[in-house]
Symmetry: C2
Subunit: 321 residues, 2 copies
């Protein structure tokens, strides 16, 4: 794509307006266009990441509670969205915060792994645009036709689009009907390369799923409610990138997991920054499992969840002493 003249104009308008601080009508007269056009160009500039407006997330890290959670669970960084707060929809607040944190963690040239779920898609949806060069977004797990609009490949592609980055999709289903087929598929060069490339990521973005009938795996038909219940009694504690993990944060030994095409937990752990975002309060145990399995170094949660984590940590300390 060559630099179209329109693009040039957007750049110039954005430059004069944001860098030089001219008013829209001044920009308009400099470029010999109407002010309305300038307004439109500026909107496009914001939407395409030519200008970047980012707010510091300091407010949320400076929180004493965040520090405590970091210390108690040995995490690199924790952000806590105040839930009692002044917003209509508190769960959106976590996603907005997560999007800001995510953008703050991304560096030029990074390779980013993205998993799938309602949370991740919400983040992708509200994330502002940026113009990162040389960034690659890779999908962490296979695809699943979802009844909703957030399929794994869509999460990946949407985030790639927002960052002006390259998106790398997984050309495989998340779960297959037999273990043999899954094994063969994993051996396919295309898939194998994709799986191997996951460990090279600099940053991962995912949430953790609950093991219940409301799970996406159930809603998307990958598992029946009864199967899910069965897995739970076998020790299933959470869902990471489409895989079932136990309370220790390890892959549960079950047929389902063997039929899944997804990132190996070892590959995920090889990623330096693992950003986990948890919106729902019901995901307390799944989150504990993920932390236990060292699947998360950076965490974005709500104030209530943070409270529960600290309470849990305190109880554990007391018992130990």
């Amino acid at each position: 794509m060559a630099i179209r003249p329109a693009e040039q104009l957007i750049h110039k308008a954005a430059w004069l307006y944001y860098a030089h601080g001219l008013r829209q009508d001044e920009v308009a007269s400099q470029l010999n266009i109407s002010r309305a056009s300038v307004a439109m160009y500026l909107r496009k500039a914001r939407e395409t990441g030519i200008v970047n407006i980012s707010t510091s997330t300091q407010l949320f890290t400076n929180d004493v509670m965040a520090r405590n959670v970091e210390d108690a669970f040995g995490l690199d960084a924790v952000w806590i969205a105040p839930e009692n707060a002044y917003l209509a929809d508190p769960s959106t607040d976590i996603a907005v915060l997560a999007a800001s944190v995510f953008l703050e963690l991304v560096k030029k040239g990074d390779r980013i792994g993205v998993a799938w779920g309602r949370t991740v898609y919400t983040i992708a949806d509200i994330m502002s645009f940026a113009d990162l060069q040389d960034v690659t977004v890779v999908q962490l797990c296979g695809n699943l036709g979802a009844p909703y609009s957030y399929r794994p490949d869509q999460c990946t592609m949407e985030i790639a689009r927002r960052l002006n980055a390259k998106g790398l999709n997984f050309y495989a289903p998340l779960v297959l009907s037999t273990e043999e087929l899954a094994k063969s598929l994993r051996a396919e060069p295309v898939i194998r390369d994709q799986l191997a490339g996951i460990a090279d990521c600099d940053l991962a973005l995912y949430s953790v799923g609950a093991v219940d009938a409301d799970s996406h795996l159930v809603k998307c038909g990958a598992l029946l409610p009864a199967e899910m219940e069965g897995l739970r009694s076998q020790g299933a504690a959470g869902v990471i990138a489409g895989q079932i993990i136990d309370a220790g944060g390890e892959v549960l030994d079950c047929s389902y997991n063997r039929r899944v095409i997804s990132a190996e937990l070892a590959s995920l752990r090889a990623i330096e920054k693992r950003l986990m975002v948890v919106q729902e309060d019901t995901k307390f145990e799944p989150l504990l499992s993920a932390i236990a399995g060292r699947l998360c170094t950076h965490l974005v949660i709500g104030a209530h969840m943070a409270g529960r984590l600290l309470q849990y940590a305190e109880a554990a300390t007391k018992k130990a002493s």
Copy 2:
């Protein structure tokens, strides 16, 4: 400085407005303050770097001319401000561009070396605020009481202030009256550490000075016009961080240079990214010397200067063939 309640409010207002996209009156009602206060908080948020508005400098790197200059002189990156352009004051444009480029090059945790001069001070003055954590700004050369408001230490401190970074000043004059004194001073632990720390910088920001009666060195009384003229006939071609360099970009062997307290050129060359900004068209030869001495890897200049550079490169190529 503890987090004052006002600061907290600024953060919240900025967060609701910029991250959540609420209108000012909505923010006002959420926080139970008047809309006028919100507007004021938002201005403060922008001024203190709590929110960051940055425009992509792509427009200027994508320029064909910039690419040509990069290739012709083996530079890592070149930005060219269009001088024929739509702006009242073209020389400001270079400084504004330089400030944007500078902010784009700075990374968290960086150590930044800053020299001194009208250009550098102009950049510091128009640079927008940012909230970089763990950034250190160090002064590249000794101090000089200037008749203007841009003393070396002020350049350093102003940039540090804008970045919300730590500023490290040089507690020494730029030039001493005897070589012996300069030598002793350089051996002082405080000064020695400072000088040694320069090579550890990740980024340097400086301009190059001309060898004439208009030079800062003359205006600030470090050198008499006649002395400057004398140095010129001895091969002086430019001024870098208060030192005289020859056409090859090496330190000129002269008494003045031996009396100066400033970064060694070898230390400067050890800095990965050396951002040089040249506003005045008269600094053509000095710039060539600086490039010859590999004192610049990243360059911000005006279109006219770029034209002269390319013309020069072309002539040199022709002569060679």
